[in-house]
């Protein structure tokens, strides 16, 4: 049963992708219908799968015994992330019906989005490292192709290439780790690795741990790999909401959480994870304070919130990190789609040119306000519970310093959130007299996500139970929703965080008097940001130049290609011979 549901969760979007391509761009109505139908069906199946969580292998595909078996395991972590991917995916596709109406090449757009949804579900559900790597690269490809969707826009193409190269460099770390594990265990089975992780020689385990961390940091846009995410905002907004806020960027956090039991003992690993998370959270919050492009601002805020999750894994709070991942996926998708509705209505992304839209777009204004409240951590909204739980668990498990930095970051978060809400929806009305509120399909997506923002924290208890019962290596403790709520309410960091958040709001209120401090913070952030931006750009440029240089080997002459093939054959024979001689 679970096996069928897994196959459908991954397969339905893929079948939908082929169907959309087959329908052809001359029939946009059919394409919209097919895309929404298959994505919604996959979302429904993934929700059904939530109830079937277990640690047992549900799908087993023999692969000739060379790389072991390809397996899919519906454990708590997998089904929960697959459900997020499919549900947010379904809502983004529904939103696209209005957002992408009249765009040319809808087939390419929907096919890539649907391919992404299936690949993301596969990535979190597979129990085989090799398949994990393949799905990892597949989502990277979809992300690249969708960032560069408007391929007549040089900025979009450059953003796509940057995202591709930087996440690929991280992906090398993952590949190195997978190869090491395969070489030592003779299998790519994740459960086998987690059971016998200690059998790896120390140096090899360290290499794997840091390789995986590098892959995770690149995928989740953490310092120092974070600069691709703001540039990825050239993608159509539903793609930003789905891939660059709610799902793919979570893959890094997923990877860290999945392999935490194996790597927690590696010297220094958890400290580095904590440092990466805290640095990303703080730096990105500063950058968000200075950003003027609505989507880039939200991208920085995504990096910052992912920093909280990475920190939580490093501090051993795996459940808190996944809980925050759920909250963040819901409210950030809401914020992005809300921003999409605004951008669609006013035709610019510059917040300085917006203002007073609250009266013209009351529905979008309300849901955006809710999302911003959850981002800030206003009590009762989902972001409040999960963020406080991270801080609370972090204090219990780790040292004070990171928690203090994260508390300060929540003050900054409050400040930039109120700034963006003010600039877009309040203040003087600008020239956009014709701004219209969201059409029907957009409203449905936004409404569902807004409802989720208010209520998704009620799932904390069942999420915790599902993780605790199906992840044998993590030694998690199942706690009821009541326990979690009591713990968050009574914990001292909660009061501190609320106070800091209030300070952040006040700081915006008194922004004129604090202008000098604000300017200093912006300059500091810009210096650090431009430093890492420079490094990232150099890396991208070097990669592009190397690719162009490698073009010299393409002579276009068949005989030279044959020389290459024969040389490769001889090299393989040589390696095989070395193996038999030994």
């Amino acid at each position: 049963m679970a096996g069928w549901l897994i196959a459908l969760t991954i397969g339905l979007p893929w079948v939908g992708a082929l169907a959309v391509l087959a329908a052809g761009d001359r029939r946009p109505r059919a394409q919209h219908a097919l895309a929404v139908g298959s994505a919604t069906a996959a979302a429904a199946v993934s929700l059904a799968l939530l109830r079937l969580g277990s640690a047992d292998v549900a799908v087993r595909i023999g692969a000739g015994g060379v790389f072991g078996e390809f397996t899919f395991v519906p454990d708590g972590l997998g089904v929960f992330l697959a459900a997020i991917a499919a549900v947010v995916g379904g809502l983004s596709v529904l939103f696209s019906v209005d957002y992408m109406r009249g765009e040319p090449q809808l087939g390419r757009y929907y096919a890539l989005v649907l391919m992404f949804i299936g690949a993301m579900a596969g990535l979190v559900l597979t129990g085989s490292l090799l398949l994990l790597f393949l799905f990892w690269e597949m989502v990277a490809f979809c992300s690249y192709a969708l960032i560069a969707f408007h391929n007549d826009d040089p900025k979009a193409v450059a953003g796509g290439i940057k995202a591709l190269i930087i996440t690929q460099i991280g992906g090398l770390g993952l590949l190195a780790g997978v190869v090491v594990i395969y070489a030592h265990h003779g299998t790519t089975d994740i459960a086998t690795f987690l059971t016998h992780a200690g059998n790896l020689p120390n140096g090899m385990l360290t290499l794997t741990a840091y390789g995986f961390l590098m892959a995770a940091a690149a995928k989740s846009a953490q310092v120092p790999f974070h600069t691709w995410l703001p540039d990825a905002m050239e993608a159509p907004t539903p793609v930003s909401a789905l891939i660059h806020a709610a799902t793919m960027v979570n893959a890094g956090v997923y990877l860290l959480a999945r392999f935490y039991p194996a790597f927690a003992g590696v010297p220094g690993w958890t400290d580095v994870v904590v440092a990466v998370g805290v640095a990303s959270a703080l730096l990105a919050a500063l950058m968000a304070l200075a950003a003027t492009d609505l989507k880039r601002l939200l991208a920085y805020s995504t990096i910052s919130q992912l920093g909280y999750m990475v920190y939580a894994v490093g501090a051993g709070a795996v459940f808190a990190s996944q809980f925050h991942l759920l909250s963040h996926a819901v409210y950030k998708a809401l914020l992005f789609l809300g921003a999409g509705a605004v951008i669609h209505a006013v035709g610019t992304r510059d917040v300085r040119q917006m203002g007073g839209l609250g009266t013209q777009m009351p529905f979008v204004g309300t849901v955006f306000f809710l999302g911003a409240g959850a981002l800030v951590g206003v009590p009762v909204l989902n972001g409040f519970w999960s963020k406080e739980l991270i801080l609370e668990t972090g204090i219990n498990n780790g040292s004070w310093l990171p928690v203090i930095v994260l508390l300060a970051t929540s003050g900054l978060t409050a400040c930039y959130a109120v700034r963006v809400v003010w600039l877009v929806f309040f203040g003087h009305a600008t020239a956009f007299r014709r701004a219209y509120d969201a059409p029907a399909a957009m409203r449905i997506s936004l409404g569902v996500l807004a409802a989720g923002t208010v209520s998704s924290w009620l799932l904390a208890g069942s999420l915790g139970r599902s993780l605790a019962t199906t992840l044998p290596f993590h030694h998690l403790e199942a706690r009821s929703l009541g326990d979690i709520v009591t713990e968050v309410i009574t914990a001292p960091p909660t009061a501190a965080a609320l106070a800091v958040t209030a300070l952040g709001l006040l700081a915006w209120w008194r922004r004129d008097r604090l202008a000098r401090a604000g300017r200093f913070a912006r300059v500091a952030a810009l210096v650090i940001e431009n430093g890492s931006e420079w490094i990232n750009t150099q890396v991208v440029r070097a990669a592009v130049r190397a690719a162009a240089a490698a073009g010299a080997t393409q002579t276009g002459l068949l005989n030279w290609n044959m020389v290459g093939i024969v040389a490769g054959l001889l090299a393989l024979l040589g390696i095989a011979a070395m193996g038999t001689l030994r």
Partner: protein, 103 residues
């Protein structure tokens, strides 16, 4: 010492492989390339038969061999069809004319 049939077959296969690879490296005419590709595939079929006779699983190796022959026929047909198109478009069968993929 007398060589076993499998050894003889294997040696013949290797010989054909060498001939085929050499031919591929030096041929510029597309038809010749299709012909030497055929030689290469026949080397592979011989190796299959040799492996079958060495391991005693003749049936398996013969069925694989037949499969290879069928697949290879398809390859040859398509390659020759492409050669016809090349001749029509470029007016020559010389592979040096086909360098539009030059990097």
């Amino acid at each position: 010492m007398t060589a076993s049939p499998a050894t003889v077959l294997m040696a013949a296969g290797l010989g054909l492989l060498g001939v085929g690879l050499y031919g591929l490296l030096i041929s510029r005419n597309l038809i010749r390339i299709v012909v030497v590709l055929q030689v290469l595939v026949k080397a592979a079929v011989l190796a299959l038969v040799a492996a079958g006779s060495a391991s005693g699983r003749i049936g398996l190796s013969q069925s694989l061999g037949v499969t290879v022959i069928v697949a290879d026929t398809v390859v040859a047909v398509i390659a020759l069809a492409l050669a016809v198109q090349v001749q029509r478009r470029f007016g020559t069968l010389d592979v040096r004319a086909l360098s539009s993929l030059k990097g």
